[in-house]
Symmetry: D2
Subunit: 338 residues, 4 copies
Amino acid sequence: MHYFSDNATPVCPAVMAAIQAADVADHGYDGDAWSARLDSAFSALFDAPVRAMWVASGTAANSIALACLCPPYGGIICHEEAHVVVDECGAPGFFTHGASLMTLPGDGAKLSPDSVAERLKAIRPDVHQVPASAISITNATEYGLSYTPDEVAALGDLARAHGLGLHMDGARFANAVAYHGFHPADVTWRAGVDILSFGCVKNGGMMGEALLFFGAQADARFAEAARWRKRSGHLFSKGRYLAAQLLAMVEGDLWLANARAANAAAQALAGAVPDRLMHPVQANELFIRLSAVEAAALRAQGFDFYDWGDGAARLVTNWSHDAAAVAPLAMALRSLPG
Amino acid sequence: MHYFSDNATPVCPAVMAAIQAADVADHGYDGDAWSARLDSAFSALFDAPVRAMWVASGTAANSIALACLCPPYGGIICHEEAHVVVDECGAPGFFTHGASLMTLPGDGAKLSPDSVAERLKAIRPDVHQVPASAISITNATEYGLSYTPDEVAALGDLARAHGLGLHMDGARFANAVAYHGFHPADVTWRAGVDILSFGCVKNGGMMGEALLFFGAQADARFAEAARWRKRSGHLFSKGRYLAAQLLAMVEGDLWLANARAANAAAQALAGAVPDRLMHPVQANELFIRLSAVEAAALRAQGFDFYDWGDGAARLVTNWSHDAAAVAPLAMALRSLPG
Amino acid sequence: MHYFSDNATPVCPAVMAAIQAADVADHGYDGDAWSARLDSAFSALFDAPVRAMWVASGTAANSIALACLCPPYGGIICHEEAHVVVDECGAPGFFTHGASLMTLPGDGAKLSPDSVAERLKAIRPDVHQVPASAISITNATEYGLSYTPDEVAALGDLARAHGLGLHMDGARFANAVAYHGFHPADVTWRAGVDILSFGCVKNGGMMGEALLFFGAQADARFAEAARWRKRSGHLFSKGRYLAAQLLAMVEGDLWLANARAANAAAQALAGAVPDRLMHPVQANELFIRLSAVEAAALRAQGFDFYDWGDGAARLVTNWSHDAAAVAPLAMALRSLPG
Amino acid sequence: MHYFSDNATPVCPAVMAAIQAADVADHGYDGDAWSARLDSAFSALFDAPVRAMWVASGTAANSIALACLCPPYGGIICHEEAHVVVDECGAPGFFTHGASLMTLPGDGAKLSPDSVAERLKAIRPDVHQVPASAISITNATEYGLSYTPDEVAALGDLARAHGLGLHMDGARFANAVAYHGFHPADVTWRAGVDILSFGCVKNGGMMGEALLFFGAQADARFAEAARWRKRSGHLFSKGRYLAAQLLAMVEGDLWLANARAANAAAQALAGAVPDRLMHPVQANELFIRLSAVEAAALRAQGFDFYDWGDGAARLVTNWSHDAAAVAPLAMALRSLPG
């Protein structure tokens, strides 16, 4: 049974059904009936006027967002282990035409306002140094932690005070919202987020994420993002198949239901190995201490997952899981001699 | 009934079935079983070792190909009405980091070896002028003409003689091959083509084209293209759903069957209006002289299509058509007073 | 005696003296006393508030100007034989991160408002096509023609009506102004020019041109240009040696005196071969019909110049010339049997 | 008396004389007699075949070098306080089209082979992570330390073993060589350096550095660099004035004589405040502990320099100094109460 990535899981049935329902003739690109509903669907979800755009992948969503917030000579403050830094082959550098990633350490891949403030203070305001233009955070983080609205708002305040844009990589946004139970608006635009990469693929979609623009500059940024989307080859000619997936997720509460299932499974596993946890479990990922011998023992029982350096492993649950489904792994973990 | 674009047509049933068959757990990105079969499937089709990569859109396929063939300070010789020039919002400039499109005129959007040779001769070999690095042609062309193997080979010879790469935009490659009946190898690698954007979406796919690398540099270019694909956000996390579409197209002869249907429909329409044709019909597009009054009359009967400047229109047939399906439009065209 | 380029000529004595006068200790980059005087010197010259920046080369000046006026996904309308198109190895593509050069034909390398208007009309306002963002003209043109204020204003009106920026490549701006005798303001900001590359090197300088920003957006564009200048390696650490050259040119009327000398020399030559002229002579360049035999005959007498394709030649006069200096060449031209 | 930067110092007389000697008519760009001598002059100096190119600024030299060694999707390992990281407004990102700077800590701004090796080991060889493509070091470093040949060779061995290019930013290369007394070849190509930015401006030049290419790939990289130089606006039309400066530096031993003078002055100052030194003094820069009160006291005596954060200052000596010239500052430093 695979726990190496939520990308490995099939598409959830409601999304597949939506794809098939969209299998009719309609206008190309984003001129179709499904794409036309995105703004209203996400505005309803976020309780505010939202401009919403389908984008094929999380990397494209993040990169286009950053290109809207940062000029080529600017910098993006982010965590040193952020996906945009370590897992996108430099995509932000490509889309921004060479902007700098200004990386910071921080527990659990979270950015702290103090470290951001200190970094900002160190930048000389002359033409020789790269000015900071944006802050990018991941929620849930790369280590499965979820920001509270207050934590985001502290960064949002800093961003506003320094004239920076604030981007949130929400590849697992649903899991973060489901964990805390806050309203999605509280942890985004109400806390100062300008652009959100709203993830769907890891949460049961086939392909396609939503790029959401909040606030007074939403229209202008959306228009610019539309150029980047086309120019980067991401304006698909049959966009209705993407839009339909997003609508299936958010016109009901599928996005939250799926995330809750994955989170519940993660909690069930966490409960089995409280002493092994390297980070709090606040989404659908667990990072646990696990020796090579233990890892081999689990794999021998059919459980698959990634090692995370020496003596550690990452387990990822997904929408198709629930506490029962992961019970065998929970038991196997409990039964480890260590 | 719509004739404005082959993008407007639904996915063909065999492709949809393939997508559903791929709806199982497997490794992410291109680590799945379907992606693993691409090289062999296309090698069989092209009767030669081919490196094949799924890419989400035609724009991405073309741009990544050009980035593999042309440095930022180089130039790409292409037709002034090529898709890469007029319909991709500058995507080649984005992916190549600013290479120049060296545009040439030519009947039916075809490049002639003479005009290419003349253009090459005009470039001074000093550091002030942009050197030509690649030639890009579209087959079938933007006006629905299809290159013969000899025509491609004449350009291929020029390319080789001047050390240029040769790219073919094959968004409607299937229609071109189906029209002439040549072996796909004859009009590509045997004629000097280095990289082919092999189109699927217009031919019945949902999303995803194949980028095919031929010849001695195929491996090196594939490796570089893999970086561009990731860096541009086109390495989808659930790539199996793309790979499955491509395999459904080419592991049988669906790609040709679909193209033949579209071509037959185009010929049926062409036969109805021989005197209105602005270009020979050698694929699935017709460009016809049509007054505004005539266009309105057709639309009143339920036929939809794009105007093509003043006094002209474009009609595009697709995989779901055949001669019978387009009979009503053929009759309506014949019945126009003019 | 060389007539192949005004680049080949030594620095004029007043500029060399200014360089030596600047050979004292002062702050680095543009923090020195000379750089601080640029704004006021050029504001006086242009009779309006001007933001002025030294830049090392004409290519850098042009490219930075275009990067301030055109986003990566935009287009720049210019003549197909403009320096930015044919002689800068794609520098505008580099500085703009891949913007498109939208080239137009036109007699004497001049852009006509009609052809620009027609080009603008042909662009669909959708996301697939590159929108025009700027117009760039060269004055004097690559064929030695000079725009009148009315001609520039017609382009300026078009630019304003379509929301485009207007750039003037003034590598030989002094020659153009000297020829017509208009006030420099009349042919620039009063006619709608936003940014001017004010040439010095061809006019007797050693290195360094001035980039001039006019109008309401001058400050914002200057600030952005300052980033591009630094980022492209053009913010020299001892900028005072560049600034001093520019001031020597424009704090008196050296720039005009030099240009008048070169122009007078060109007129003297033109008067010798009225029937050979391929273009009106309105600056310091002559393009004349000249057979290979005739060219050889002139070279045998010690005159050096560039061939300009078959049966033609380019002769360039410079600041160190006057009518007397070019009398030997004038006589040799008159004496040609043809 | 100024100690804030070696950029503030006038040009040394021999360089100014060389500029004036070059003030004759010659071919433009790098077609002149001075530019033609660069290869042989630097080959003699480095005791090996060297391809040498003038470039206007250190930022341009570094960036062009990195663009020759690193693709857009690659990474450059360098110190976190390197000039390319903190003082060039992201120029390497501009010239490389978005390559990543992979920064490492290290005493005195030196890179240690161990930290580089560890960084290399952490990069997964998949398409998601940016591969390392080059190492860039500064010699003398930003804190005035000079690498020994053995230290460079250890990095050169690592570079070769991993297929990386090795670049040396030698803005103060002369000071480094003068300090250790090694042959310039020992600390460059014999130790594995592929490209050297050979600094002249800080060492008494007006403008212009030399970009030097060593080894088997020198010709190919030079050819590519020539494109970048043109494309970035750095191919000046009167290049002879730059080439002449470089030749004046290295056809005799002016470059070393100037550096020795600056170094001697630095040692004289260091000897005055051994307990205040924050780094060993191995070139022409001193970083000393200095309270705000002490700094004010020195400035009141007419000594100018930059603060270096709280409680510290940077003093830079230059070619016009010697031990006698800095004696007043040495005495003032000794006389500080602290």
